[in-house]
Subunit: 164 residues, 2 copies
């Protein structure tokens, strides 16, 4: 399989040096703040971004062991699930996706709230959050039904011993 | 900048051989169906996925010219915007993100509705859609305010002459 090559367009700064204690989902991570430092060469791409309340952040899960096709996610202590039926990080392609609240843009630095990434995570993309495109209502959420990520934090189970 | 390497975990089949006429957003693409063919080696990762109504599909925008840091998106004929303030495909890292409705899973083939990808698009990841993680209400949507992607289709403006 030919490889598909991307490169970091910036770096994500958060209070989290390691997985243990990190909120498992940005949507329920609360008000913990971080910054996204976009590299200067991409500055033009940020024009008009400050007018959005939420943004999608795509990033490289660079310190995750894996992949695990069958995984034991944080929210289900009893049963394993296929990795594509979970948001666990040990994915074949280690791409993270988090919606965060955009608090401000100053030059190429974005101040955001609701971070669930490790400090130093390589940034891949930013997309504006638009409810017409992104917000759906459904009760068909498989094994997540009746569970909540609110207040749940990670342990070291998915941590790599070296950078991926 | 060191490159970050991913590889396709499957291929997306849609009725669209070229950009012109493709819905510009999956969320408003309606009921056009496609299939996602996950490669056999990742079959285990699909366990329990059939119980979700919506899934996120991440893929490689492999036939898009670019990047364009300042871009003229489909929904604003009058003004250009920074690429990160748009969902336009001409991004520095050509990663597409679409929520689609999962109609069924048969072996490693997923039948989905609401496709906005070109036929043959390389699949990077699948994540389950969970409203607690993904659905937010906001009116702060910048230049998208007062516009809708419903019924809007693409032209060839972002098309590459060769595969990226």
């Amino acid at each position: 399989m030919p490889s598909i090559e991307f490169s970091a367009i910036g770096v994500i700064r958060t209070p989290y040096a390691a997985s243990t204690g990190v909120p498992i989902q940005s949507g329920t991570a609360g008000e913990v703040e971080g910054t996204i430092e976009v590299y200067a060469e991409y500055a033009d791409g940020l024009r008009d971004l400050a007018e959005f309340e939420f943004i999608w952040v795509l990033y490289h899960l660079d310190r995750i062991a894996g992949p695990q096709l069958i995984t034991r996610p944080y929210l289900d202590p009893e049963q394993s699930h296929g990795i594509f039926a979970t948001r666990a990080p040990a994915r074949p392609n280690a791409i993270g996706l988090s919606p965060v609240r955009l608090l401000g843009v100053e030059g190429t630095t974005l101040r955001v709230a609701g971070v669930d990434m490790l400090d130093g995570t390589p940034l891949l993309d930013i997309k504006p959050y638009v409810p017409e495109f992104d917000a759906f209502s459904t009760e068909r959420i498989g094994w997540y039904r009746g569970r909540t990520s609110r207040g749940v934090v990670a342990d070291a189970r998915f941590e790599a011993t070296s950078k991926r």
